[in-house]
Subunit: 154 residues, 4 copies
């Protein structure tokens, strides 16, 4: 796994995850090659991300109808390390790797029941104002939550 | 095909379709059984339905941000007659079978390149007001369009 | 709900479900109308169906690589009774309504956390031989399982 | 766009694309934020990739039932530059950026009808043997095709 640009040291990177969601691979998520289609991990990442942001007390606001701020995904990537099959039970982990003025870089890791890493990923999300069409800096309370939970550079 | 409750005479039913959209089966739409996953035809039906309603001059309004009326799907069904595989080119046909006060019963038929029927279906859509939370009767102009294009009972 | 052809008496129909899977609506399963896209319940039905067939001791065989028999979906339908939104927790119930020589008619019902029925459905699955390209009659043991668990007409 | 690690000079990078597939955004591909869900571009990339490999004379073999080699996706990434909405017509471009012993690095770019870049991406695919469970070097004929079509380093 030396080729993955966003992981400098795998074991320390891996040890920083504590939040995960359980996912079971659906039949409709497989493809004719017999394994999980490679577009599906991004769906898992989205679900994990939202649960993670909820845990940090953020997501509720963003899905309220009249709330102006929303979380926009700036980029996403995934490295596929091991085939995943129908009915496998995965843990999809997510952590905040670093925080910018109005963005967070989230990292992802999925493990199967044997605790093997199946795929990893990352992506930046940005807090965005629909009304003003631009990024909104994080509130102090959000920064606090992030800092208390992660040793991230702010 | 005698078991399909919404088709009384197949050849006359089949002959009433004229509108279709072309669809090519995506790799991500197959499953580990090697064929088109059975949840996907409903996606094709949706695409065909929207294009059909556009053709009748309806859909534009419904997707405008401040327009109150929207098309709500009341029910959907599909009968799978023939396996469909990756990369097959289908024609997904749609027609209006009958029109109610604020609803239309749409029928669907998908054919492969050999002109074989692969799956058929139907479903009722209802014109619905978000503001009032109830069905809205069709306008006279819509009824006219439908009547001119289909020999439907109104 | 008098219009739903496959439900003669709702309260007795409803009372016959005991098996369900929990499902939480994903963000990617919503559409721009703000609710669960109408193609997604069929994915939930599939997941519920497979877990149900597993519970009856059937599915394992069907997904083994060299097993000849597979479960083919002959038809599917869904009636949408109530809007479903992002993050709602549903119970997706499934039961065997009647059993044929090589087919089962499965019925579905999804309830939200208020125990309101959101959508219902049904569909026939057929045991099918890949090698012979035709339906295979149920084994005696399968019939026994079905009869013990359901008061179905065989 | 200076942040995108795999694009050193945008205008020269952009000018090297010639192959594309047309895609129209489906209703079911939008989400409750009103735009294309961020998991969907990977589906478009897959479709573009397969058509591209077909164009190079490769894909046919890989989907034949008894063919041992298959194309495995090693990683995928996408940068979202502009919101995409229901019914937009996109051109999804793909090109080979560099070729390894048994892998190709493919790059992607999607443009809307105004010729604006909406999202870009990349990902490595590897030719893989199911039987031997390992990567298979490209044939000479494949290398020739790639070299004739792209100024890639081999």
């Amino acid at each position: 796994m030396s080729k993955i640009s966003y992981i400098s040291d795998l074991s320390s990177w891996e040890s920083e995850f504590y939040f995960f969601i359980p996912v079971k691979v659906r039949f409709s998520e497989t493809d004719m090659y017999g394994h999980l289609n490679n577009t599906v991990p991004f769906t898992y990442f989205e679900e994990a991300r939202i649960e993670f942001l909820k845990e940090l007390g953020l997501m509720q606001k963003w899905t309220e109808e009249n709330h102006d701020g929303m979380v926009v995904v700036a980029d996403l990537q995934c490295d596929f390390l091991r085939q995943v099959f129908f009915d496998e039970k995965l843990k999809v982990f997510v952590k905040a790797e670093s925080v910018g003025n109005s963005s967070v870089d989230l990292h992802y890791m999925a493990k199967n029941e044997k605790e093997e890493i199946c795929f990893v990923g990352r992506g930046t999300v940005v807090q965005f104002s629909k009304k003003f069409g631009k990024a909104i800096p994080w509130s102090e309370s959000f920064r606090k939550v992030i800092q208390e939970n992660f040793k991230v550079t702010i």
